[in-house]
Amino acid sequence: MKREEVKVCVLRVGGTNCDAETKRAFEELKVQADIVHANDVVRRRNLLEYHVLIFPGGFAHGDYVRAGAIWAKWILAKLGTELKAFVDENRPILGICNGFQVLVEAGLLPGFDGMSLYPEAALATNLPPGYNCRWINLKQENRGKCVFTRHIPKGKTLYIPVAHSEGRFMFVKQKEKQLLERLYETDQLVFRYCSKNGEYAQGSFPANPNGSFHDIAGICNSEGTIFGLMPHPERAFYWWQQPDWTKQMQMPQYGDGKLVLEGVIEYLTKKF
């Protein structure tokens, strides 16, 4: 597949945000990107016209019940068959912030044994509590399974903002050690929160902005095609989105967010 043939679907419903930034970032990468209301995809049954599916950030359906829960169950009820086909064909899905919560609530992540009937993890209320909006550092932990990050060297530190109230990644308490080992074994761990120098946050605020277990900021499924992360790569795409751009004499053209979004294009142009 040629780069210009790649079609990205940025889904939106009431309460999503940064869909415009995500579309613009993908267009900068010379692929086609549409912002599509979820109702339109249901009406037209055209999900499989797209090669990449994005669940953007925001507060979909008001974050009622739990963050991401309503949209997750809605999409399974309305588009379950198409979504399963999309996943089975190894077409990539990205969940950013609220989108990550949707993927976890839908049982698509961590997806140890494929899509699970009930959530296998949770993104709980931040610790310390409250909405946290700040630039943080992430360490790339994946050994090559995740199709979004396989071109980013393991151990590289990325600078990308977070903005959320419910981002504390957790497993069932009694099984957290066992499930963490599984994440490592199957190469599903992608990003961990760290300091500016690349040292793991070890749960300490503000390097770990939400109290996530094992400083987990992003994971992928066992196939590496579904990826969710709390930070917003589309808000760190251009140089002028960086918080310190006015202080710098010279800056690279793009921010670290570009690294997260461009990897999937490389995967698609090679695979399809």
Binding site: V65, R66, A69, I70, K73, E105, Y118, P119, E120, A121, A122, A124, T125, N126, L127, P128, P129, R168, M170, F171, V172, K173, G211
Partner: protein, 83 residues
């Protein structure tokens, strides 16, 4: 039959409850001898079902499919038949 189903979703024991801890701290500052606060959600559902047993089964299904995340939540169900 119509049943009034009260579903209470709360955090599993041992999980951090930042909202509860913050509330407890403030209640203490207001002068109450509060030891702990656990925050949960209550859903009052009016449900059509053939029997109390079916109402309970349906309510459990609702919890598993939407209202509770088994990773962090417990739930309790109380059912009353409409008179």
């Amino acid at each position: 039959m119509r049943y009034h189903v009260k579903i209470e979703v709360s955090l599993k024991p041992g999980h951090s409850d930042p909202e509860g801890e913050t509330t407890a701290r403030l209640l203490k500052e207001l002068g109450y001898r509060v030891e702990a606060v656990n925050v949960g959600k209550v859903y009052n559902v009016v449900l059509e079902a053939a029997s109390r047993k079916e109402a309970k089964t349906k309510a459990e299904e609702m919890c598993k499919r939407l209202l509770a995340n088994p990773t962090k939540d417990d739930y309790a169900i109380a059912i009353e038949e409409e008179k």
